[in-house]
Symmetry: D2
Subunit: 378 residues, 4 copies
């Protein structure tokens, strides 16, 4: 029988739903794991809503005060899936309470907060984990394995973008994600943070960036159909050039104004021996070009990443029976509990969260100052 560990989660919106599903599924698909989560408590400020969420998502109990949840003695893991502005205090409190921490991305609304959080985690000696779930797409995990195995050689280029279109309509109303006070930034932090993380995961550390951001629609209805308008204080889109410490050149773009692109988290990576390409909208596939192939038969190979030998896939279905977005969270949590069980550091951890936050800060600063910003200077 595996041991169990009790989890308390703050937040019950999109990420709360996704994480809950993953907690439920970890023991079902990864029964061999030595340490399995128990869904002890969920937390939200609206009692009626959080009570219903507890019921629907399968949590044993609920809290309406985050600090109360954090300090419950029957909880060993705190999952911070609240909005970004709330992360800092919750993570610091959880660290001080000696809890292991899972935190949604980006970990904070600014770099200073992120560093304070990492300091608290380090001082407390607890484990931390940041939910850059796209690392756990099997195709992306395979890409990482291939890069580490030298399949594409030295990396020259990464072209990454994350394209959505959910606010392209000027009549789409103000929401908290369009308010800098609450969200920190717009497309940049929300989806740009994912491609920054994938850049670090697949290529390496950033040396410097040069960025521009844009807000195409500056005034929006305060509510659907309303004549009253509010001001958008975050970026609708961000684009940046990047030099990596290993010499690779990167181009990145995050936008919510790409009509027809729904969740196009994509990359192309070109190396001295081969290339890789990925698009989340076809998340079960990885494109691979190899200079080692016979010259006459070279071409981008579409690997359907559903074989039992592919990362995580042994837990799921037979070849060709594709998986979806939510499986990335199951895979991620499997790795987290596996690490805790084995006493090793989960990855990516709070320091990876800080590194991404530094990139976000560098990008924002570069956009403001219209100049290149070195990450080491922050």
């Amino acid at each position: 029988m595996p041991k169990t560990i009790n989890v308390g989660m703050i937040g019950y919106a999109f990420m709360g739903k996704a994480h809950s599903a993953a907690y439920r599924d970890v023991p079902r698909y990864f029964p061999e794991l030595d340490l399995q989560p128990e869904m002890k408590a969920i937390c939200g400020r609206n009692e009626k809503a959080v009570r219903e969420a507890a019921e629907q998502f399968g949590w044993d109990s609920y809290e309406t005060d985050a600090m109360a949840l954090i300090n419950r003695t029957d909880i060993q893991v705190v999952d911070v899936s609240s909005p970004g502005w709330a992360h800092r205090d919750q993570v610091i409190a959880a660290a001080k309470a000696g809890k292991h921490i899972i935190c949604e991305k980006p970990i904070a609304n600014n770099l200073a907060d992120a560093r304070a959080m990492a300091k608290a985690v380090t001082e407390a000696g607890v484990s931390s984990f940041v939910m850059f779930n796209y690392r756990r797409v099997p195709a992306v995990a395979l890409a990482r394995q291939m890069i580490e195995a030298g399949e594409i050689g030295e990396i020259y280029h990464i072209r990454a973008c994350y394209l959505q279109d959910w606010i392209a309509d000027p009549q789409f109303p103000m929401v908290w994600r369009l308010d800098k006070e609450l969200a920190g930034s717009g497309a940049l932090g929300d989806i740009g943070s994912h491609i920054i993380d994938l850049g670090r995961f697949l290529v390496g550390e950033l040396e410097e960036v040069c960025a521009t951001t844009k807000t195409f629609i500056k005034e929006r209805p305060t509510a659907p159909g309303s004549k009253e308008t509010g001001t958008v204080t975050v970026d609708d889109a961000a684009a940046w050039l990047a030099h990596f410490k290993n010499g690779a050149l990167g181009t990145f773009e995050a936008t919510r104004f790409a009509r027809g692109r729904k969740n196009a988290n994509r990359f192309e990576i070109f190396g001295s021996k081969g290339s890789l390409a990925f698009d989340f909208e076809e998340m079960n596939k990885l494109q691979f070009w190899s200079a080692a192939d016979s010259e006459k038969f070279q071409g981008f190979r579409e690997i359907l990443v559903t074989e039992s030998g592919h990362p995580y896939m042994d837990a799921w279905w037979p070849p060709g029976h594709i998986i979806g977005y939510q499986h990335t969270f199951v895979n991620a949590l499997r790795d987290f509990f596996d690490a805790i069980s084995k006493g090793v550091k989960p990855s990516p951890d709070i320091n990876d969260g800080v590194a991404v936050q530094a990139a976000l800060e560098a990008i924002a600063q570069s956009s403001d100052t219209r100049s290149w910003v070195r990450l080491d200077d922050l």
Copy 2:
């Protein structure tokens, strides 16, 4: 609070795992459903294995005798996910016991059995449901809606195939699916039944078929690496031409020898006003061509079927956050329990299962007699 209904399931292999996941998920993603399943008992002949399956998949109890499970008074729904040869007796017993029935496809190993099952179900007045889960792929459900709405007009053609490659290697050993006694047929019944069902779902009733089947590798090792061989008594591949009652022309092919195709359940449907195309390996997409589009801008449109307005998708994730194979079972069970709750006939039911079985029989007979076979003559 929704009412609940107790389910007992026979089988714990691939389909048992998939159905179990779906029973667990129905209440999580479709909480508004008036009638929710309770996972009461699972049944298998190997006690150790079924006990572990009960634990891992989340069933309250287990049985080692199918009839015992069927006759448990605390069970109202019997899910027959056992191998095909076992379906007949279990379905008939469940019907006689007054249980609602969910049955995996194809419902039987021959048409006589299928008809006997349908007779028993009808006489008992219980509800029945056949797990043609591909109908519940949102893209396929959307295709059906579009056809019903006249978007592609009168249908001229369906080109359907189901391509896999898991036994293409001659060293792949004998398994029960390669033994006619146990499996009834090979690629034909296992995957051909799905495209027959999709043909009925999307185009209409079959008039007649002309078929051929092929067994490419006739002798296989009895076990991996074994020198001893056994004889494959089922088809490796089946292909058939079909005329539909409404005048449409169909070509169909099911094979386990299509190297590199893992689960390519595909169709192209061409009508007087437009066309549709689908490939399960990209299950979140539906291709649509419309003669109503401005002539200069006509082209196949790739609909990413993940919008909240698309069938079933409101229950899942935001646009572009794709779903996978297992979600088709959740969607299917949602519809089943919804139908039971509302007192309407689930669809597809046992009679649809019989219709597919009739097509399978017609195809097999056509292959044997090398002639066209009318389904009404069976």
Copy 3:
């Protein structure tokens, strides 16, 4: 300086235009060829039209009587690009006149004619060449090389189709191609002949076929907008199952009713070691799956067939600078003149044309008799 050989061509419509372009281009792109065509004369029954065609397409002179052209002493090669019903007499006359013959496909409107033509050619000892131009798509030629080199092993399956939609509109009027007297058959002979030829080129000789044909729209306006209608006497679509002599199983379909498919001449070939797939609408690409690839990285490889090492491509442009439909004719004629120059038999020749005609006849007969037809029985 290369030697030259004088060509006379009968026909100046679509194929006349395409062949003319190819005759002009052969010396430009294949200057190393020892024998180059001279465009001596073009022939058509309408003097004004053929005079203009001669001018526009670059022919030195014109004739209005095919027999006059065939018997001109300054002509050594006769290109029969007239409608199908006219082929027989022209080819036989050309053979008797001792001319080398290029003939459009299908070579005749029935098998008896085709055999008479082949007999005349053989008795005269002249060279013959049938314009199955799709063999000269570089991607198709590469596919053939790969099959011959054993890259995909023993062939189990070919799935071929040729989908068009130019008469899907019921208001599209009668044209000669819809009249059996003139065209012999409909989609079957016109485009089905191409996939029959590709099947022979890539897989091998046919053993037997079982077919059905369909005419969806039986009455059409005699002219655009006319109230008067004429009767379509050919097939709108044809589909057939096939067994090859080497044991491969084939499914084939040719239709003019596939809305949105413009020239989808496609095949998928599955073998014991690998697979190939092609679609003319992306004619510069060949899909290749190899069991020899490392298991974890297997996938269909999209070969962009534009490298200088690929068939014919050295004559054209740098990698990635794609070529089009008309280049297939240039490549074909290059091979024809190369063969003549070297004194070897061009391929495909009139006997290949007969073999395709036999398949067409078998398919038509099978559709009529609703039974399997062996080609050797014809």
Copy 4:
């Protein structure tokens, strides 16, 4: 009978071959054009080579001195397809000699030269035309028509790249294109100029750019297999951010180090009402997403741009019979001679060439100074 105009062309390498083919083809495919080219003379410094080129490509005569060609009284159009360093003097001389000018891109190796050339052309009152041939890809021309018709509304984004891989191998030797003295720049001028032009053609005028360039391999063999090395003095890759005057945001990248990408001249354009996407490796296709489509059926539409109503396609083949790279030159020359015939300005002309050159200069300067550069400041 159309009038004719005599052309003299300088250069006989890749572009010389491509232009020659186009001169030959214009009268064949566009016979209705009032003014048709006569291929009067070709010019190159190596007499043997240029004599052979004249013969193979179909020119009446040849010259070995560019100025001699330019000043021949029987020549009215001078086509400058020589290497970039030679353009300035040749264009200025041709202008002074009163000749119409066709010039390959980029028109010069620096902005000062480009401006001097434009001044000479303007003063001489001759017509000019720059061979940005990708504007004449039917799919690109259609994109322009759609943008002008408002199909995608106000443009927010353009993502453009031009990816090749022909020097990714470090053993690929030094060639003139890698020498700044001769080539001006590397990937930037050679292929970056094309995407700059497409940006102007499809989106509008650039306001400012911020760029970086990279030379991954700095030393290369002087010849294939040589131990001696030379220094690469141009960029292997260039990437830039751009703001357009109309508010659109652009990201651009040109590289010769994208393994597996052969001629991936691509763009995605996102507007308020729709989107367009293109990849030259599939040059007969244009992707189109429209917010005007019924919400449930929205998706990127793949327009096969081969219909007779599509730009230029009436001259070519039936729908689905795709065209290739060289056809872009035929289409371009058709437009040039049509403009000359009608007495209107050809487009793009020398001033468009200057605008692209200004962008190239701004990009190079931005890369050097690591700052944003406004084009109006140059």
